[in-house]
């Protein structure tokens, strides 16, 4: 492409009022990481590792790739995002709060997991109607995305549906039922993103139930598969553009990521799949994330 990638170019007729530059996206990602650490620290429970690994992908979706209008969250032609790995709710909450949805207030992020908070332990549409799906039981989001994609196709809408799956999550059989169905129905308005951070609750994915080789599996099920560095904004943007241009089959973006990305003592550390940082650890993390 002449001139290479141009951040801020109006890709996909974005409804985002001001498309973001690379620097702006990086600045948002930094704030989101800080918010994740602080809110999970305040909650004293939660899943920091898999939230931090997904930051760039969600920021790219909500601030650049998706055609959305946070002021009109039920706009019928919007693009949709489902966080199938629902335990990474903090990254979704922080990104939606930054994006300005009325039902995800920025100043309430630290009520995460408390009684009465809209920020439930896992995403819950009863509390946040702007969410596209409730989640928490692994393996289910891809099926939902296919249903949304089929509906958009029937109605002739331009909506695209993005769904993020965990690498441990895809051990669930339903994911492969859905993968088979997505290839069969040629669901080219659906994009699956696997957050391939290599760690699940009990340890390393390769030791618990290895999912490799990943791209080959999706290709065998009739998908276009792209492997990228899931922390590299230009690579993520290129992948979503390639998915948009791919017709007749859905796309899976296999995003190689680092669990706990950005916080040295959380990076690649299975402990921080589902353990909250202590107050001292929050302080240390925030120093690293400045």
């Amino acid at each position: 492409m002449p001139g290479g990638l141009r951040f801020g170019a109006p890709m996909l007729k974005s409804k985002q009022p001001m498309p973001k530059s690379l620097e702006e996206l990086q600045a948002i990602a930094k704030r989101v990481r800080q918010e994740i650490v602080v809110m999970i620290g305040a909650a004293k429970s939660g899943h920091p590792g898999g939230s931090l690994s997904a930051v760039e992908i969600l920021v790219e979706l909500y601030f650049d790739a998706m055609r959305i209008d946070p002021k009109n969250p039920k706009w019928p032609d919007r693009d949709r995002f489902i966080l199938s790995k629902g335990h990474a709710a903090p990254v979704l909450y922080a990104v939606m709060a930054e994006a300005g949805y009325a039902d995800t207030p920025l100043d309430k992020l630290n009520t995460l997991r408390q009684l009465g908070s809209v920020y439930q332990g896992h995403p819950d549409v009863r509390f946040i109607p702007s969410l596209e799906a409730s989640a928490g039981s692994l393996g289910e989001g891809l099926s939902l995305a296919l249903g949304m994609g089929l509906a958009a196709h029937l109605d002739g809408r331009p909506s695209r549906t993005y769904v993020m799956l965990g690498d441990g999550e895809i051990q669930e059989g339903q994911v492969w039922e859905a993968a088979m169905a997505g290839g069969f129905h040629k669901s080219d308005n659906v994009v699956a993103i696997v957050d391939y951070n290599g760690i699940q609750l009990d340890g390393f994915v390769k030791d618990i139930m290895d999912v490799a080789p990943l791209a080959e599996k999706w290709r065998a099920f009739g998908w276009h598969a792209i492997e990228i560095d899931g922390h590299d904004f230009p690579a993520i943007q290129r992948a979503f553009q390639e998915a948009q241009a791919t017709k007749g089959r859905p796309t899976c973006v296999v995003a190689h990521t680092i669990k706990g990305k950005g916080v040295s003592f959380m990076e690649n550390n299975p402990k921080f799949h589902g353990t909250a940082p202590t107050p001292a650890e929050v302080e240390q993390a925030l120093q690293e994330l400045r």
């Binding site: 596209e132 409730s134 289910e140 891809l142 296919l146 089929l150 509906a151 088979m180 069969f184």
Partner: protein
């Protein structure tokens, strides 16, 4: 007391057949009606819809969990999906998805189980759905319906489509005795008193409604006046009808083609306990899996025919003093 002539009770179309025909009609009336199927369309009778509206019929293969999830996605994008398979498969293999993807966000998905109960017959217990009423009723916000015949199914499938929210409908494989005239009105959550009576009430649904009517006719000849109530909606339960039966007749028998554990009987008993406790008896399957055989033979062997209902009524009436 109405005479025998009031009820036809000759074999009519199966309730699954009535479902399939009605679904195709609904497809003509509403473009938002869509169907998800798991390789059983020729048995669930969604094939009529599939032939007429192939673009709105989604083949999901033999993968019920994914099928329920796709249905949930379609509903959240504004469609009215009918998700159908044998009851045993859609409720059991899809239960987790019915709970988290449909009930929890309260999506407008219509789940239709066919080949319910033991009257599926020769295929045997792996295909026999005898737990589904309990399972479906445990899904928060679900409406659960068990129609008795063709007219009831047609009306209640339409009511389900018009209702906003998740619905489970239980239908059967064999021909269903004709109870109702085509013009009969049905309302979700509103039981129908098909026979008036004062000495006892039989509350039944599905195929057991016809058996209850036959039992009431037998007992009338013995001088026992039996009220028969069609509890076609198991959830929400028509508690007023139950409470009236308890107060006005003083003895209740519940009859269903289901395990007595977790079925209609349990829900009725709860409503009775909370209104006016009275003697109750239960006709259903008692903690066992059935076997292969013809539907009629199985209903006899497992205690689900008029004779069993009549015996239960005599027992309940005897306990009144």
């Amino acid at each position: 007391m109405p005479g025998k002539t009031k009820f036809d009770l000759t074999p009519g179309p199966a309730t699954r057949e009535a479902f399939g025909r009605t679904l195709a009609e609904l497809g003509r009336e509403n473009r938002d009606i869509v169907v998800c199927d798991a390789d059983l369309s020729k048995s669930t009778m969604t094939t009529y819809f599939a032939k007429e509206f192939p673009e709105r019929f989604f083949s999901c293969g033999i993968a019920e969990a994914n099928m329920v999830g796709i249905g949930a996605g379609l509903a959240s994008a504004g469609k009215i999906p009918f998700v159908s398979s044998f009851s045993a498969f859609v409720i059991n293999k899809g239960f987790e998805q019915l709970r988290v993807c449909v009930a929890y966000p309260k999506l407008n998905v219509k789940v239709v189980g066919t080949h319910s109960g033991i009257s599926i017959g020769e295929d045997g217990p792996s295909q026999m759905s005898v737990e589904e009423t309990g399972l479906a009723c445990s899904l928060v916000g679900f409406v659960v319906i068990s129609p008795a015949d063709e007219a009831a199914t047609k009306a209640l499938v339409r009511a389900a489509a018009a209702h906003i929210g998740p619905v489970f409908i239980r239908t059967g494989r064999p021909k269903a005795p004709k109870v109702y005239d085509a013009g009969q009105k049905f309302e979700i959550g509103k039981a129908i008193e098909v026979i008036e009576g004062t000495d006892a009430t039989v509350i039944a649904n599905g195929l057991l409604l016809a058996e209850a009517i036959r039992a009431a006719e037998t007992l009338a000849a013995e001088g026992v006046s039996v009220r028969v109530v069609d509890m076609h909606t198991v959830k929400p339960l028509d508690r007023d009808a139950v409470s009236r039966a308890a107060i006005e007749t003083g003895a209740i028998v519940v009859a269903e083609e289901h395990l007595v554990d977790g079925g209609l009987g349990v829900r009725v008993a709860q409503a009775v306990a909370e209104s006016r406790p009275c003697p109750m008896e239960f006709v259903g399957i008692r903690d066992t899996y059935a076997e292969s055989g013809q539907a009629g033979e199985l209903m006899e062997k497992y205690g689900l025919v008029a004779r069993d209902v009549a015996a239960a009524v005599r027992k309940a009436v005897a306990r009144k003093r």
